[in-house]
Symmetry: C2
Amino acid sequence: MSDLRPPEHQVAGHRAAVNKLGPLVDGAGLFYKPLQALDRGEQELAFYTAFSAHPAVPPRIRDTFFPRFHGTRRLPTAASPGESHPHLVLDDILDGLAAPSVTDIKIGACTWPPRAPEPYVAKCLAKDRATTSVLLGFRVSGIRVADAGGAVWRPDRSELKGTDIPGVRRFLRRFVSSVGGDGLDCALAAAVYGGEGGVLAQLRELKAWFEEQTLFHFYSASVLLSYDANAASLAGGSVGRAVRVKLVDFAHVVESEGVIDHNFLGGLCSLIKFIDDIVAEVSRTAPAGHS
Amino acid sequence: MSDLRPPEHQVAGHRAAVNKLGPLVDGAGLFYKPLQALDRGEQELAFYTAFSAHPAVPPRIRDTFFPRFHGTRRLPTAASPGESHPHLVLDDILDGLAAPSVTDIKIGACTWPPRAPEPYVAKCLAKDRATTSVLLGFRVSGIRVADAGGAVWRPDRSELKGTDIPGVRRFLRRFVSSVGGDGLDCALAAAVYGGEGGVLAQLRELKAWFEEQTLFHFYSASVLLSYDANAASLAGGSVGRAVRVKLVDFAHVVESEGVIDHNFLGGLCSLIKFIDDIVAEVSRTAPAGHS
């Protein structure tokens, strides 16, 4: 317990600080997420509980694309000494990545559950229209790029918020580029986005599940992409566990009423197209490989 | 010209009547659609003009899924004797079907172009939320079922407007059922929805195009499904030209800004899942075939 600390590489969401609850990691593979206020924490807990045990969820989907859920634990809070707060105990999805590059992409043109209360709908809708969500079916909520040389890039919050379509394209290029120079060389595009086990292959597997699954609708959830630029496997072009695609943030997941999550699926297809375009462009302009 | 008359089998949209403009057919394969007011007519004409000549549209997509465009023609109007009104001249997509069953399915959770004026957005959004559009990614805007015996079923307008998710499922079952009895026997599900050339196969081909195309976003457009219950080919289980899947209503199509139409695509995937479920259910419960 004494080793709990805020995660170093968080790119979106609330942060732990003095007088503020935020997620913690134990450095041994676990991530502690404080239950959120306003029923959101209870809803996220209900989702993890239902999802973890659901017989219709393919184990491969659960293991590949979701953090493993280990129940809840009350932890003392720095915010209120002497008191404790319940936390979800999850796998730390960045565990083992020495210098993680991470991006949090909120999926769906619509981030409000259709039966949500009116003020919440109005607030979300305004944000969905002010960001790229309505236009693209997703928005980039956070990004951090670390390269093998140890350099790190992250944008200002204002740069993220005001992003337009070309801006999203630049973020997705920058995510697989060296940090120096113009940061858009796409040096790792083939290794991280392309190939077997790369982001594209994983997103396509996730998409195939969303074309079928009628269990949950993932409003306002994110796809978190991460990789370790230092991983020896990346340099060799084989990615293995070095490239990760995980879904996170389930405070607004609802039951599906028997229909697919067309909102998430449409956004996912849009993201796939963006990334596929980058891979295609890089493979057109790259010099020939080992021949 | 003297043979122009309102189409018999229209299931949605404006109808021609005394003092009212509406579409006309010539009975020889052409459909005349009056240009709509408020720029909508001009927008639809601009779409047909651009789309017809666009080098990036695969000819097979254009020929299979869109009515062919033959320019415009001014026609005298019954509404205002002595005056004429411009019409789009299109292929009559029901031409040659003796007793067509037709359903008009408006695709997309969101029927408003993101950059539309605010009052229009508010009006469409209210309707998208009041119907199944937001929940399902589509709504049934019209349906007419004719069976081989000549019987015809169509719902009241109020029944259509108030439809919920189970109601949509019933409409999609009824569309391929005999008109008598409870109208839900799904007698033609395998022939119309399933198989090579059936609705599912055609919708999947359309979906593959929407996963790639970044030319147009089809807000508020419909997929019109039709077949002829009298076609000998249906009885034999082979559908050929007897089952048609066409896109219609392009007054709110906009350019894509280089991204896919995730809104249309998500709705299309949702519709495919509904229809796939019906085919799967029928094939599970059907007695074995010719064995």
